[in-house]
């Protein structure tokens, strides 16, 4: 047998050359050109990239990461989660705690505690806030807590062989319960107001163009990294087993593999990616609130993946971008009736493009061969 190639080589080989080229182009654009145009051109110039573009672009890239994460579990392992928004929001909340601590005394009440704790008459931080004024600890919370929750839930759900619709429904129940829990003011996360009014991150003012540009670049880097990681995963042996689980789980079991650990692995990984995206999302958007955990939000994530093309990794990026752009456009062009158009779009896409936008592109690209 040939010696196993080194990790670097395997990662390099997992993505085709065209993919690396595209990734390079993407990096150039999003890690170089756009931030530069934002920071170094005067505001009036035609070439200037406005802060609207940077913030909305960063937000969409975070959404794209979540979509790819969902594609990993849905497109490649067959688990339709309608509750992924929970992990996204938890990552956002964890980082949000750090941002709230960074406000210091500049809140409305000029106290050590965040404003919402002041109006609840609390005198000190609850135990789960300890250490959140340290960036590294907050980062650890972002990566560990959602992953832990996902692991426990996954262990619980997958070991019981709950599948299909039932699994999707209980993921809905999970995120709904999370939303209700966080809506309570007593829970200690700001209730319906959530966290807002951030002033700085790591000492840099949060509204400064340079901070925005850095967050934008980090989002782009996360997206690029997620795609590379995803591509490596799905072309590896683990990825093959996952695809088999998606297609025919009982057979996989008969062949001697235990689907539980594979599913758990990709599920936890997906949750961690969502959480990281959430952590980058919150400083760019300026607010985190329990409605991010609403069941509707999680369903929308699934819509992005289906729209773009399930099981293609790139499709979800397209889906997330196009749907959110469409929403932004519709809510301005037809503010009174935009849900009508968005709904129609979803129906038509699912009917006419069962493999999503990517499926359409591949169909167009492949010439029809005579029978």
């Amino acid at each position: 047998m040939a010696p196993r190639k080194s990790l670097a080589v395997r990662v390099l080989e997992s993505t085709p050359r065209a993919g690396w080229l595209a990734l390079g182009a993407f990096s150039l654009l999003f890690l170089g050109v756009l931030p530069a145009l934002h920071l170094f051109t005067p505001a009036a110039s035609r070439l200037h990239v406005s802060d609207l573009v940077i913030t909305v672009g960063g937000k969409i890239m975070c959404y794209a990461v979540v979509a790819v994460a969902l594609d990993l579990v849905w497109g490649y392992a067959g688990i339709l989660s309608l509750g992924h928004g929970l992990f996204f929001a938890l990552g956002g909340y964890a980082f949000g705690m750090y941002l709230m601590r960074s406000i210091g005394h500049e809140g409305v009440y000029q106290s050590d505690l965040p404003d919402f704790m002041v109006f609840l008459d609390w005198k000190k931080y609850p135990w789960f806030w300890t250490g959140t004024d340290h960036f590294l600890w907050a980062l650890a919370l972002v990566l560990v807590v959602p992953a832990l929750l996902a692991f426990v839930f996954g262990l619980f759900a997958f070991s019981s062989r709950v599948r299909g619709v039932y699994l999707s429904i209980i993921t809905q129940a999970l995120t709904y319960a999370g939303m209700l829990f966080f809506f309570r003011n007593e829970t200690g996360f700001g209730g319906n107001n959530g966290f807002t009014d951030f002033k700085r991150v790591l000492g840099f003012p949060i509204t400064a163009p340079s901070t925005r540009a850095v967050l934008f670049m980090l989002s782009a880097a996360l997206l690029g990294g997620t795609l590379v990681l995803g591509r490596y995963l799905v072309t590896s042996r683990v990825g093959r087993v996952l695809a088999a689980i998606r297609d025919e789980e009982p057979r996989v079991r008969f062949l001697g593999y235990d689907p539980l650990w594979y599913k758990l692995f990709v599920w936890t990984l997906s949750a961690t990616l969502c959480a990281a995206a959430g952590a980058l999302y919150v400083p760019q958007v300026g607010i985190i609130n329990p409605s991010e955990m609403s069941p509707a939000n999680s369903i929308e994530i699934a819509i992005w993946v289906a729209f773009g093309g399930r099981g293609t990794l790139v499709g979800p990026v397209l889906g997330a971008s196009l749907v959110n752009l469409a929403k932004s456009w519709f809510t301005v062009a037809f503010p009174e009736v935009w849900p009508f158009f968005l709904g129609l779009l979803f129906i038509l896409i699912t009917l006419l493009l069962p493999r999503g936008v990517v499926g359409l592109a591949t169909r167009l690209r492949r010439p029809r061969r005579p029978a």
Partner: protein, 415 residues
């Protein structure tokens, strides 16, 4: 194979946003933004505000516009999604270059757009009653602060005329407005020597619709003495609450309920016969009889009919709508006084503006605290869904956005 697609879409994304509708710089119009949810949970309340705003713009344009230029409204729908509020606000200011924004309803939406207005030096007129504890240079608050709504209502309930309540059941939806208002009310009640055992505070989640248990608890609590319920339940949940009250036989004469978020609009969706006698406190009621109000209602009804709004014949006006109307006119007056739409000049000119409001009084925008001096009306629900006024202040009351009942507020007053 598929990566190029992604890269090109990415580029498309960037250019699309960048080159998105660059407004043709028409010199004859002033753009004004309307930032209200037209879909989602808040659409019920906010759509009417959008309609009133558009009507007022039309009215102003018909009488010559502002500084000789017509007002051009830019309406966006943030869909009851708080991050979208911030994004749309930024879009309105930087892309559409509006001179002023009239919008927001929930405190969350206002708090999420505040950083945007502060950063971009925009001007926001916020027309809804709220919990106070805020004072921003870039915002003008045309709705009631707690001392212009909640406190007078409780004082009325404690008075002989209002039933002489001794025990208070504070029922609210779980978010900042009820929490802060109840905190202020608790301190106020304590200052009036009401014992802690005579106050009960209960919160329900948003969209809660099953009030059987809570109404049963209210009955239990009321057995201990003359009780009044102070309801800060948010919009939609009021309907099942009132229905449950009616069915359980809790009449207003034994346990009066005063609500701060129930107006004519909310009553449109309820059968009001079992609710006769329950109260609401506002700075305006549609049933007020004065010339300004009559013409305001007539104008709005005509506008609704003209635009074919659903149920045009039965449209009602309410406090936030009146506050929107007043706010727009005050902004217009400020622009004319300042001679320009530049935000800094307008902000300086709004203080001190006065207006003959449909509430029957002349409202003044306070020079230092960006709030209106407003009259307070307490009304009882009538069987036709309107309110009959049972108490009112003699003159407009100055707002205290920093409630004196919250410790630490003594040092903050004006800007």
């Amino acid at each position: 194979m598929r990566r190029p697609i992604q890269a090109s879409i990415g580029a498309l994304l960037a250019t699309a946003l960048h080159l998105a509708p660059a407004p043709a710089r028409a010199e004859e119009t002033i753009k004004v933004g309307v930032l209200h949810s037209l879909s989602g949970t808040m659409a019920i309340s906010e759509t009417a505000l959008k309609d009133v705003a558009l009507m007022t713009f039309e009215e102003i344009n018909a009488s010559g516009g502002v500084l000789g230029k017509k007002l051009e409204p830019v309406v966006v729908d943030p869909a009851s999604n708080w991050p979208l509020f911030a994004e749309k606000a930024r879009q309105l200011i930087t892309q559409d270059k509006v001179a002023v924004v009239f919008g927001c309803w929930t405190s969350v939406s206002r708090k999420s757009v505040l950083p945007v207005f502060k950063e971009l030096n925009g001007v926001l007129f916020y027309p809804v009653q709220y919990e106070g504890e805020e004072l921003e240079r870039n915002v003008f608050y045309t709705g009631a602060a707690p001392n212009q709504q909640a406190i007078p209502a409780v004082e009325y309930l404690m008075s002989k005329e209002g039933g002489g309540a001794k025990r208070f059941f504070l029922l609210g939806t779980d978010y900042v407005y009820p929490r802060t208002t109840n905190k202020i009310l608790r301190a106020f009640l304590k200052s009036k020597n009401v014992a802690d055992a005579d106050i009960e505070e209960v919160y329900t989640p948003f969209g809660h619709s099953d009030y059987q248990t809570i109404v049963a608890n209210i009955k239990k609590f009321a057995a201990g003495g003359k009780t009044a319920v102070i309801s800060t339940i948010n919009g939609d949940s009021n309907v099942p609450f009132y229905k449950e009250l009616g069915n359980a036989g809790l009449k207003a004469t034994s346990v009066p309920v005063v609500a701060f978020s129930v107006g004519e609009e909310e009553l449109r969706g309820i059968d009001t016969k079992p609710l006769v006698g329950h109260l609401a406190a506002w700075n305006y009621f549609m049933s007020l009889k004065n010339k300004d109000n009559e013409s305001f209602i007539a104008k709005y009804r005509a506008y609704a009919k003209k635009k074919g709004l659903p149920n045009a014949a039965k449209v009602v006006t309410n406090d936030p709508m009146e506050a929107t109307y007043v706010g727009i006119h005050m902004w217009k007056q400020a622009v004319e006084k300042a001679g320009s739409t530049d935000p800094d000049k307008v902000i300086a000119a709004v203080g001190g503006q006065t207006f003959h409001a449909p509430s029957g009084f002349v409202l003044t925008m306070d020079a230092t605290n960006h709030h209106l001096h407003k009259p307070v009306y307490i009304g009882e629900v009538r069987s036709d869904g309107q309110f009959s006024v049972v108490w009112k202040t003699k003159a407009p009351v100055r707002a205290q956005p920093w409630s004196p009942f919250i410790p630490g507020n003594e040092t903050k007053q004006g800007l």
